[in-house]
């Protein structure tokens, strides 16, 4: 099994992607809602990623 070195951003993006796909698939009743919810969850992850990232950056200055 090859070893992989991802930085924080890449790992968090992959985490957000896989998690939002599964959350989208299992939650809603039709494909349109599933797609919308998956995109919504992914956007929430990205907003949280940048928001908390900035908070930590400013907190450490």
């Amino acid at each position: 099994m090859p070893k992989m070195n991802l930085d924080h951003f890449e790992a968090a993006m992959l985490f957000a992607l896989f998690t939002s796909v599964v959350m989208g698939v299992v939650t809603k009743q039709n494909d349109r809602d599933r797609l919308q919810y998956g995109i919504y969850v992914f956007c929430c992850f990205i907003v949280a990623l940048f928001g908390i990232g900035w908070l930590m950056f400013l907190g450490h200055r």
Binding site: A11, F15, V26
Partner: protein, 144 residues
């Protein structure tokens, strides 16, 4: 005075549980193979999406050299994290069993990448639990 209407959740709670023969096979297959329950229930597209997403997440966890949790007891937090993490790892089904069978035994090491790897491995198992619950609901006729 008029009786308030039942909510959907209350109606569902009163439904009789489906027979075990209906929901057990998709649940078991869904545990062993991520998305397997959906594939068994002929939800091919959703099953494949679950299979690819959860399997890739698990494989990325392995490639980042994440550690599997071992069940430990001690104070509440130690028990919760290690035993809970172990259960989370176990929920990946065959992916976990094959990794252990083929000798994957990464010790818990300091470092962000290893740490992310461990979280990827546990999360793959937890996402598989969500997929299993969804397969159960489809088998029980509560979802399409």
């Amino acid at each position: 005075m008029a009786k308030p209407k039942d909510t959907e959740a209350e109606k569902e709670a009163r439904l009789p549980p489906p027979p075990i023969g209906v929901w057990a096979p998709p649940l078991l297959l869904g545990w062993l193979v991520p998305g397997g329950g959906h594939l068994l229930l002929r939800r091919t597209g959703r099953g494949l999406l679950l299979l690819v997403s959860i399997t890739l997440m698990f494989l990325f966890g392995l490639m980042m050299r994440g550690a599997f949790f071992q069940p430990q007891t001690g104070d509440l937090l130690t028990t919760l994290i290690n035993t809970g993490g172990f259960v989370g790892d176990l929920c990946s089904g065959l992916l976990y069993m094959l990794s252990v069978a083929f000798g994957y035994n990464q010790p818990d090491m300091a470092g962000a990448v290893h740490d992310y790897g461990s979280k990827f491995l546990v999360t793959a198992g937890l996402l598989n639990v969500l997929a299993m619950v969804d397969a159960y609901e489809i088998a029980a006729g509560r979802k399409n």
